[in-house]
Structure formats: structure tokens, C-alpha cells
């Protein structure tokens, strides 16, 4: 414990270094802006802005991106409350009570509660993260290629079992992400693979950023334009320092359920497919169940705003736990962070703690600082963020497109990748309209090379015997949980069918 506190103190000191601290502030502000824009969330901000982090050292870069992640989680509430449109899917549950409060002229109350709850969620989850990460990383040091591969199978199985999307379409999305990751030179034999039409641009493979920016930049913007038709109406917010302080005192109304929601959010967040959106919905449900006046939920109860906001912030920290300790991202945003770490020359996983402690603890320290910084910036500049929401889409959309195009060019500096990015954006949008989930593909393209390497190494060491995945206990446990996860929706479906048949027989 003493060790952890010492390392944490070092991390905090690192977070206050001038470069890192300015990255935190800049990241929080950009995150708040991105999060507040309807339709755009942390994943879009991180994908579009990752290329510009080549400017600073890796520690500052991850701190910047983590601050964006945090800021966006806070910012999502701003548009949920003032526009009634979730700033990101993670803030959907915030609309339920945030919108009625804004309509009743109490937007300030809702916005302050959202900020305070996000802070509580962030703080609880960062403490949990600090306690859980080092032992988990130490445990994961025992993992060989077979365990690594089984763990990835488990990560993908969570999408099938918990994602809630059409199962064949989810599996398709995972597989196409993995196939896209194989394009280029084979890591083991060095042979060129899947070089379509002998186009040399495919030789260096498809950078995960090309897919991520295409889907989360261009595809998402097209989707948002379709959903909003470029028109939004903003509720007026009047806010003075005095009112904010009065609103902050309301925190005692919701601190209990918020703390519970935060812990729940943290653990749900560590699961790759679950993450912040279901966590916030579950937390909302808990707050409603434990409330003395459940009937006021959905009509403008402050606890109804606080609970989901606490959970989505906690989940964002939770999703970093498997990324840092196991090298398996807990959400699409952390998948992009993980890809970024590979670009910066780091190998995510348990060794990170022993090989690059300054990186890990700098990140953890910065999470504490970013949480506080975002709270202060958010409360101080709420009126400004609300004003930015009125920015017409004819200014916002071209700016995002331009950032996507230059951001897609930057990593490999070929127009080939920019064209691919555009193609992925349009195809991703068309697929999303047909309910194909896109997040699994992004996770898969990041994990693809790692998955293939661990599979081939395992099979080579066992002389081609696939039983290796069942003979090692940790690997077997992962596979069994994965199978159970895949069977959950099948079982539910059968049960529903049976119930329906029974219902028919009774009538």
C-alpha cells in the first residue's frame, strides 16, 4: 500500500509538470467541447485528435487523450440537458431527467448536478483504478500467448453476449476488423497478404486510425447530420456563481445513489462491450429503485441526472483498467488509446508497469488532476459551452471533415489512406443504418495483429494442437466464460419463445 502511495505521489508530481499540466487543461477543454457537440463523444474526439499528439512525448500524449476522454464524459451532459439530444450515447440516460429540468427553467440545477456527479464518479473510479491496477498487472505477468489469445476471445465474446446488437452482424463486424488488420506484410513469414490490385499502399497495412477516423469522424458526422437535419434548439441557461454554489449544496440529495452508481459503473466499464452507456442506464435504474419518490423520475429529478453521469465517468476510468494491465481495451475509445500507445512505441500489457512506470503512474496521477480540472472548467464556462452548441452545422461539419482528412493523412502520409478512410466512413455509415455495430470492428483492427501473433505462437508451441487453450487453467476459464457469454442471448431467446408459446396456450 505504501508503495502505491509513493508511486502515486510521483505520478501526481508528474501531472503537474508544465507540459503535462497544460495538456490536461487543453485536453479537458477540447473534451468538454467535443462531448457537448451533439453526436460527437470521447471516441470521436480521441480518434480525430490522436494524430496531433505526435507533437509531444508519449506520457504527455496519453495524458492529453485521457483528459479528452474525461472532458467528453462531462461534456455529454451539456447537450443532453440544454438540447435534449445526447452529446454522446453515454449521456442518453441524462436526457430522461435533464430535459424536463431544463424545460422547467432549472437547467442550471441539472448542469451543476451533472458536473458534481461526474466528479464523484471520476474520483471513486480513479481510487478503485489505483488499487486494482497494480495487482491485476502482476497477475497478468503469468500470461503466455495461449492466455492472451483466450482473453481476446473473451473480449470479443462480450460484444456478442452483452452488446445487445444483432448477433450475426456483430460477429461480422469483429471478423472484418480482424481481416482488415491482416492486410500488409505478414508479421511472421514476411509475405505480402491481401494486396488488392497490387496497390502498393496496402503493403504497409491499414493503420487502425484510418478505420477509426473514417467511422468515428466522417461516418459519425454523416449520421449526426441525418439525425438532427442540421437543426437544434437550445434551452436558455442563466448561471451566476451564487446559483452554482447553492446548487452544489444539493449534492447531499444524491451522493448516496451516485456513489453506488459510480462503483457499478466502474466494474461495468471494465467489460469491453458493456462500457459507459449500459452503466449509465443501470445506475439510473438503481437511483430510481432506491429513491423515496421514484414517480418523479423522468419528470425532472436531480438524482436522475446525477446517477447516469457518475456512472459514465466511472465507466470511462474502468475501461482503462484492462487496457493498461492486460492490453485489452475496455471501450472503443481505449482501443484507440491502445493503438496510439503502439504507435508511440510502447507495448501495452502487464509489462508496462515494470518497464515504463513513469508512463503508467503519470497517467494515473493525471486522472486525479484531470477530474478536478474538468469540474472547475466545466462549472466556470457552462454558458460558453452552451453558446458553442448554437454553432451551425455548416461550420462544424466542414471543420470536422477537414480535421479527419488531414488527421488521416498524418500517420502514414499517403493519400491512399485518406481515400480508404473516406470509403470506411461512407460504408460505415451505410452499415450503421442497417444496424451493423461498428465498435467491434475498431476494437478488432487494433487487437488483430496481437490476436494473430498469440494464436500462431500458441499453436506452434503445441504442434498445432488446439487443446492448448483448454489445458491451461486461466485460458480455459476465459474460454468457458466466453462460451457462456455467447450462450446468454441464445438462452434468453429460447426462454422468450417458450414464454410466448405458454402465453398462447393459456389464451
Amino acid at each position: 500500500m505504501g508503495d502505491i502511495l509513493g508511486l502515486l505521489a510521483g505520478g501526481l508530481a508528474q501531472a503537474f509538470e508544465p507540459v503535462n499540466f497544460s495538456m490536461i487543461i487543453l485536453g479537458c477543454v477540447l473534451g468538454l467541447l467535443v462531448g457537448a457537440m451533439p453526436g460527437l463523444g470521447s471516441v470521436n474526439g480521441v480518434a480525430i485528435l490522436l494524430p496531433i499528439t505526435f507533437l509531444v512525448p508519449p506520457t504527455a500524449a496519453i495524458i492529453f487523450l485521457a483528459a479528452i476522454y474525461y472532458g467528453a464524459m462531462y461534456g455529454g451532459a451539456i447537450s443532453s440537458i440544454t438540447l435534449g439530444i445526447p452529446g454522446a450515447s453515454t449521456a442518453v440516460a441524462t436526457v430522461f431527467d435533464g430535459r424536463p429540468l431544463a424545460q422547467a427553467g432549472k437547467a442550471d440545477k441539472a448542469l451543476t448536478a451533472a458536473a458534481m456527479a461526474s466528479f464523484i464518479g471520476g474520483t471513486i473510479s480513479v481510487v478503485l483504478f489505483t488499487l486494482f491496477a497494480p495487482p491485476l498487472a502482476e497477475f497478468a505477468l503469468k500470461f503466455g500467448p495461449a492466455e492472451e489469445f483466450s482473453l481476446m476471445v473473451l473480449a470479443f465474446a462480450t460484444f456478442i453476449g452483452l452488446g445487445g446488437d444483432d448477433i450475426p452482424k456483430t460477429i461480422f463486424s469483429i471478423l472484418i476488423g480482424l481481416v482488415l488488420a491482416t492486410i500488409g506484410l505478414d508479421i511472421i513469414s514476411g509475405q505480402p497478404r491481401l494486396i488488392f490490385g497490387d496497390i502498393s499502399g496496402f503493403l504497409h497495412g491499414i493503420n487502425f486510425l484510418v478505420l477509426a477516423i473514417g467511422i468515428y469522424g466522417i461516418g459519425e458526422m454523416l449520421w449526426t447530420l441525418e439525425q438532427t437535419k442540421g437543426e437544434v434548439t437550445v434551452h436558455k441557461v442563466k448561471l451566476s456563481m451564487k446559483e452554482i454554489i447553492a446548487d452544489i449544496k444539493d449534492v447531499k440529495e444524491y451522493i448516496g445513489t451516485t456513489s453506488l452508481g459510480s462503483m457499478l459503473g466502474y466494474f461495468v466499464g471494465t467489460l469491453p462491450a458493456a462500457g459507459a452507456t449500459p452503466a449509465s442506464l443501470m445506475s439510473y435504474g438503481i437511483a430510481k429503485t432506491f429513491s423515496k419518490e421514484p414517480e418523479t423520475f423522468g419528470k425532472g429529478n436531480v438524482s436522475g441526472v446525477a446517477a447516469p453521469e457518475a456512472a459514465n465517468n466511472a465507466a470511462s476510468t474502468g475501461s482503462m483498467l484492462p487496457m493498461i494491465t492486460l492490453g485489452i481495451p475496455g471501450s472503443p475509445t481505449t482501443a484507440i488509446l491502445l493503438g496510439g500507445m503502439i504507435i508511440w512505441g510502447l507495448r501495452p500489457g502487464p509489462l508496462l508497469f515494470s518497464e515504463h512506470p513513469e508512463f503508467v503512474w503519470g497517467l494515473i496521477g493525471s486522472l486525479y488532476v484531470a477530474n478536478l480540472a474538468t469540474l472547475i472548467i466545466n462549472l466556470m464556462f457552462i454558458p460558453l459551452f452552451v453558446k458553442i452548441l448554437t454553432l451551425p452545422f455548416t461550420i462544424l461539419a466542414p471543420t470536422i471533415y477537414i480535421l479527419c482528412v488531414v488527421g488521416g493523412y498524418a500517420p502514414t502520409q499517403t493519400m491512399h489512406d485518406v481515400w480508404l478512410m473516406f470509403l470506411f466512413g461512407v460504408v460505415g455509415y451505410l452499415l450503421r443504418k442497417l444496424d451493423y455495430p461498428v465498435a467491434p470492428a475498431v476494437l478488432a483492427i487494433v487487437l488483430g495483429p496481437l490476436a494473430e501473433r498469440s494464436l500462431r505462437q500458441s499453436l506452434l508451441s503445441s504442434q498445432g494442437d488446439p487443446l492448448i487453450f483448454f489445458e491451461r487453467p486461466i485460458s480455459l476459464a476465459c474460454i468457458l466464460i466466453a462460451v457462456a457469454l455467447v450462450l446468454v442471448p441464445v438462452y434468453q431467446k429460447m426462454k422468450r419463445k417458450k414464454n410466448a408459446e405458454q402465453g398462447e396456450q393459456q389464451t
Binding site: I52, D166, D186, I188, R193, L194, L225, E226, I395, Q413
Partner: protein, 168 residues
């Protein structure tokens, strides 16, 4: 085209892509190589096979009308959506194509001019500020701070004086 038709067409297109990927992977060794493990084509081949099976499952569900999309007879793209999404996609397409020809900065100016003035109908004042401001910002960020040169094509000579200033 209705959503139902779109679901069918998409599944067929994706199935054809999967078959294409299987054929392409099979050009490499998809079996076991003694002492070296699975051939380099094996992993993508079996993944593409899985993709094909998913498409077949989707088609089967379409046929049985098991998914919400396969029962939906609304338009896949309404006229309004087509206009708003088509304008964006068309403008980006132009931006990329023009970059090969006149370089990214000149293309950005035309792209912004089109979007701000003809789509957004903003004032000339705002249009001019953003049309010049955004490319200048991109130039400073990428060429100056990140040292990543963006494609300039035939407009390259126009940048020589700026390079002289930057690197002198």
C-alpha cells in the same frame, strides 16, 4: 429502395466481399507448415469464411423476416437525407480528388467556400475569415509544429518563400 431491400443487397455485397477475401487469402498457404506453424493465409482465410457464414445467417434471417430491418418497408434513404448526406460526401470527394491536382491548401479553400457560402449561406465576412483562417491553422499545426508536409501538388512553388522563412 426500402430498408428491407437494402438489408438484402448489403448482405449479398458483403457475402461477395467475403468470398473475394477467401480467394485472395487462398493464394497464400492456408494449411500447416512443418516447423513454422499455420501458413500466412490461414488466419485471414478462416476469418473470411466466418464473415461469409455471418452473411448467410443474415440472409436466412432476412428471408424469415426475423430482424427489424427485414420487416421495415420505409425508405432506406429519404430525399432529405440523401440531399444532406450527399452534399457532405460529395464535397469530401471533391476535396480529396482536387488534392491530387491542386494540392490540399487550394482544395481546402474551395471546399470551405462551397460549404460556408453555398450550403451555409453565411456572410462573406465570416466565409473569408474561415476560408483563410482554417487552412492557415492547418498549415501552422502540421507543417510548422508537427513537421508533416501535406500534399501540395502543382501549388508547391507557391510555398517556397514560406519554407525559406521557416527554415532560415
Amino acid at each position: 429502395m426500402t430498408v428491407r431491400t437494402a438489408e438484402f443487397v448489403m448482405a449479398i455485397v458483403l457475402a461477395l466481399c467475403s468470398i473475394g477475401l477467401m480467394i485472395k487469402s487462398a493464394e497464400l498457404n492456408i494449411g500447416w507448415i512443418e516447423g513454422r506453424g499455420p501458413g500466412s493465409g490461414a488466419w485471414p482465410f478462416w476469418l473470411s469464411t466466418g464473415m461469409l457464414l455471418c452473411c448467410i445467417a443474415t440472409l436466412w434471417r432476412w428471408f424469415r423476416k426475423a430482424t427489424p430491418e427485414s420487416r421495415n418497408t420505409n425508405l432506406y434513404m429519404t430525399h432529405e437525407t440523401l440531399v444532406i448526406v450527399g452534399t457532405s460526401a460529395g464535397a469530401i470527394l471533391f476535396l480529396l480528388a482536387a488534392t491530387h491536382w491542386i494540392g490540399i491548401y487550394a482544395s481546402l479553400v474551395l471546399f470551405l467556400l462551397f460549404y460556408l457560402k453555398f450550403v451555409g449561406r453565411h456572410t462573406w465576412m465570416l466565409t473569408i475569415i474561415l476560408t483563410i483562417g482554417i487552412p492557415v491553422f492547418i498549415f501552422c499545426l502540421f507543417e510548422w509544429a508537427l513537421k508533416i508536409p501535406l500534399p501540395k501538388s502543382i501549388t508547391e512553388p507557391l510555398f517556397y518563400p514560406i519554407y525559406d522563412l521557416m527554415y532560415s
